[in-house]
């Protein structure tokens, strides 16, 4: 099966003074994302998870390497970027980095309007996205009147209204209380059941353990390990080496087995 999105030998250095001497934020990253994926990118702070995610819809352009959408290389022309962002929607960690409009409804309409859809179709998509994230009652409020969790849902609704094939979420659990995380879990399950591929970054190992089918572990801009979630989370030594830990559910099992 042709991957939905493929990253080949991706290398990225953040542009700044003395960037030639700076270590790359991404080095030699190759990754294929297939339809229906439930992938979590794990890693310590600065491992390159978010940088990788921002490459997935062309917001960052690799210093070298290729991005392939449906098997075709993306050259970052305006038309190609529009197509890439139609099929791959990204939600930033901080909702205020995306929400700009006067009301939630207007903000959610921004992406579909940029696709040049007729207004009637935009209204259908906006209503659908608001309903999916339980935002109908808040639709006509300005973003600054919402809580952090509600703003995160509004940012996610903005991405859903694009009806992407791949949803890339940067730290979707950050700042959410346990109830918010459970609701997010259910919403992601629903989207996945509709056939959407989902890639997310998180520091919440326990959430990743419950939700992910596949895991990519990153360390210093490189992929340290990848594989089915069950296998990766069983590798306690690997996780400790890259500054992570095992999920509590597995660690508790290991401890109880050790005591016996």
């Amino acid at each position: 099966m042709t991957p939905l999105l493929e990253l080949r030998c991706l290398h990225y250095v953040y542009p700044s003074a003395g960037s030639a001497q700076r270590p790359p934020a991404l080095a030699d990253i190759s990754l294929a994302i297939r339809p229906g994926t439930r992938l979590v990118l794990l890693g310590a702070n600065g491992a390159g998870k978010s940088t990788l995610l921002w490459h997935c819809n062309g917001t960052l352009r690799p210093t070298s390497g290729d991005i392939l959408l449906g098997g075709k290389p993306v050259r970052h022309s305006r038309a190609e970027l529009t197509e890439l962002r139609r099929r791959v929607a990204l939600v930033a960690q901080e909702p205020d980095d995306q929400l700009f409009a006067g009301t939630v409804r207007q903000d959610v309409s921004f992406g579909p309007m940029n696709l040049g859809l007729p207004e009637s179709e935009v209204r259908v998509r906006v209503d659908e996205a608001l309903a999916a994230l339980d935002l109908v009652a808040l639709a006509d409020l300005p973003p600054h009147q919402l809580s952090h969790g509600q703003r995160k849902r509004a940012a996610l609704a903005g991405a859903l209204a694009m009806r992407p094939e791949l949803l890339a979420l940067d730290e979707p659990t950050a700042g959410l209380d346990p109830r918010g995380i459970e609701a997010l879990h259910r919403q992601l399950d629903t989207l996945h059941a509709r056939g959407m591929a989902i890639v997310l970054t998180t520091h919440d190992i326990d959430f990743a353990h419950r939700w992910a089918a596949e895991v990519v572990v990153m360390d210093a801009g490189r992929i340290a390990a990848r594989g089915p979630a069950a296998e990766i989370f069983a590798e306690a030594a690997l996780l400790h080496r890259v500054g992570l830990r095992q999920p509590y559910a597995l660690a508790a099992c290991d401890t109880s087995v050790g005591r016996r």
Binding site: R85, D97, Q98, G102, D107, S109, L115, D140, H144, Q145
Partner: protein, 247 residues
């Protein structure tokens, strides 16, 4: 205060009728500015207050608090007009009947205009007046600028509040000297934060296919003929009452 105005604008009973409210406020404003002030201005102010409290159900406390600052400016200016200064035998202050009359006329006129402006601010949500501006064919880049400014004001307000909280928690406002320094540091930090926020917002918009235009869905117009008739009729009655000769 900005937040209270914004909240009331989003929650009042007239929030979906921006066109009628705009016509109503426009008519009242014309009455306040053009009609004989001593007869028209009290009527305009009364109608505006009645409309805000009884019609749109704007919280009276917030509305009156918002009036306080401009009315204070008005009062100081009016007081200055009531006094004349002569320098012929050293500085001498005297009550000026002509100045007092001018102050009264200008004062009531300005007060009425302020009441109408506040009525508009408290009853028309931002998205509605953006829609009005778009229907009035305001240039799109200007609308984009207004949209981003509106959002950024609240982001920076949040940012400033968190900076001041952090400074207060570490005794940054313990005395005048420290307060001075803390305010300067807060201003500097806020400036840097605004630049960073702009950069992040630009990246966030790029991820959503931003192509140089902030095109969003606008709320549909909910204007009805009877609302428009009322919006035109009430200011017309006020004007008629002001211009008609007294019996």
């Amino acid at each position: 205060m900005l937040r209270q105005v914004d909240t009331a604008a989003c929650a009042n009973r007239w929030r979906a009728h921006s066109e009628s409210v705009s016509v109503f406020c426009g008519g009242l404003m014309l009455c306040a500015l053009l009609a004989p002030p001593l007869r028209a201005a009290p009527a305009v102010a009364g109608v505006a207050l009645l409309a805000a409290f009884a019609g749109a159900r704007v919280p009276a406390r917030d509305y009156l608090r918002a009036l306080l600052m401009p009315v204070a400016f008005l009062a100081t200016s009016a007081a200055a007009l009531c006094v004349s200064i002569s320098w012929s035998h050293g500085p001498r202050f005297a009550y000026s009947p002509v100045g007092a009359h001018t102050a009264l006329e200008a004062g009531v006129r300005a007060f009425a205009a302020i009441c109408v402006t506040m009525l508009f601010a408290f009853t028309v949500p931002f998205t509605q007046w953006l829609a009005l501006l778009r229907r009035a064919r305001t240039p799109e880049p200007l609308l984009d600028l207004i949209l981003v400014t509106y959002r950024t004001i609240f982001l920076l307000d949040d940012g400033l509040a968190s900076i001041v909280r952090a400074q207060t928690g570490r005794l940054g406002y313990r005395d005048a000297r420290r307060a001075h320094r803390s305010v300067a540091l807060a201003a500097g930090a806020l400036f840097l934060r605004s630049l960073d926020q702009a950069r992040r917002l630009e990246r966030g918009l790029a991820a959503r296919n931003y192509t140089g235009r902030l095109t969003v869905l606008l709320p549909p117009s909910a204007t009805r003929a009877r609302h428009l008739a009322l919006a035109l009729g009430v200011p017309a009655l006020v004007a008629a009452a002001a211009f008609l000769p007294l019996p």
